[in-house]
Symmetry: C2
Subunit: 218 residues, 2 copies
């Protein structure tokens, strides 16, 4: 279990009891998430763009987004903040003020670089594909050189990173426990529906087994 | 049905066919989301922070976050980008390259202001609470003056806003339809589990009905 550097920028100031710097937990959250939000700045204006991503050991690969357009303008790196957030439940208290959410989120700060090496790009696409569906890369047609060229990938070292986690029930003011109000947690979970084929799947092809997705983030 | 101003900053450059500027659709996505990611800049470093929010007519209220700390340093407004993203499904193609996701997302740009008026703050808390659970505000203890003081709220006009939406199945290259690979969509849905009370709910209090949450975003 390794831990990551805590810098003044990643030190969680608001509600520090919810901060977690442990690297294993950071990896677990990153591996379970589906999309990240990438924040970057253009002419003083911040943007937060949702996009696909995947973790490869100590590197976060981010699927082409507006940020890669910006980077093509000549800079050899761009300051980003990549955030992944999982919502686990609504926390309902007896007072409006103490309502909250259970969640796990990770923030990674640093300078993202544009991936130009073809092998590293292929590696990133491999990770993207299997991040969503374990084993999917191995059963699909691999990218051509043209497709690799057409894909933008950013890479960000997972060095300056922090997690925030809230779990458990509501914490009410002592006198409010006398109120006749229901309080507790409503769990929230992402659930997969029945796969819908696109109408052009060849006869004899095994239907997609949705429980493969239970291995996501393992 | 009104539409919002399309500025060079909100004009979606990548995959413009997925861009939607219609205001009704923007509102629907904002009302269905649970958390937003707020992007802002401190000393040149962008941040993307997940936090609660709610829409009140043409204003987005954002629950206290690091951004409000920054604003207390004296500025009378801060440039933000608030993004709300809903993931609707995994789009599995026959080639790795054409994998995608179905999603709906909204980006709102502008200058956020710190809400200081007590009545507006109470209004925002009302909206936050009922954004998560319709009707919850009316059944819980209302905030005291102290609690209102302890809550930071940012307000952002929903003027410069855009939505991006992808729906439907994978689009494969024509020759790839001959491959014996399953292709289609795996729907993804946020589902509520059974409410878990906190062990201190008074006898006779009606248990929380989880199907109240099906009215979220209506």
């Amino acid at each position: 279990m390794s831990s990551v550097e805590v810098t003044p920028r990643t030190q969680v100031k608001r509600l520090p009891k919810r901060a977690v710097y442990d690297r294993e937990q950071i990896n677990r959250i990153l591996d379970q998430g589906v999309v990240c939000h990438v924040a970057f700045v253009v002419d003083g204006q911040p943007f937060a763009i949702p996009t696909g991503y995947a973790r490869g050991e100590d590197t976060l690969y981010i699927h082409g987004s507006a940020a890669s357009r910006v980077m093509r303008l000549g800079s050899d790196g761009i300051d980003v903040c990549v955030t992944v957030t999982l919502i686990d439940g609504f926390v309902l208290a007896r007072s409006a003020f103490h309502h909250s959410m259970n969640y796990r989120s990770v923030m990674v700060l640093g300078k993202a670089r544009l991936v130009t090496d073809t092998d590293e790009k292929r590696h990133a696409l491999h990770l993207f594909t299997n991040h969503i569906v374990p084993g999917r890369w191995e059963e699909t047609r691999q990218p051509t050189e043209q497709e690799l060229k057409a894909t933008s990938v950013l890479a960000l070292a997972i060095e300056e990173a922090s997690a925030k986690v809230r779990t458990g029930g509501p914490i009410d003011d002592e006198e409010d426990y006398a109120l006749p109000v229901w309080a507790g947690v409503v769990p929230l979970k992402a659930v997969y529906g029945n796969p819908v084929d696109d109408g052009r799947v060849l006869d004899g092809v095994t239907p997609f087994e949705v429980n493969r997705l239970s291995r996501r983030g393992d």
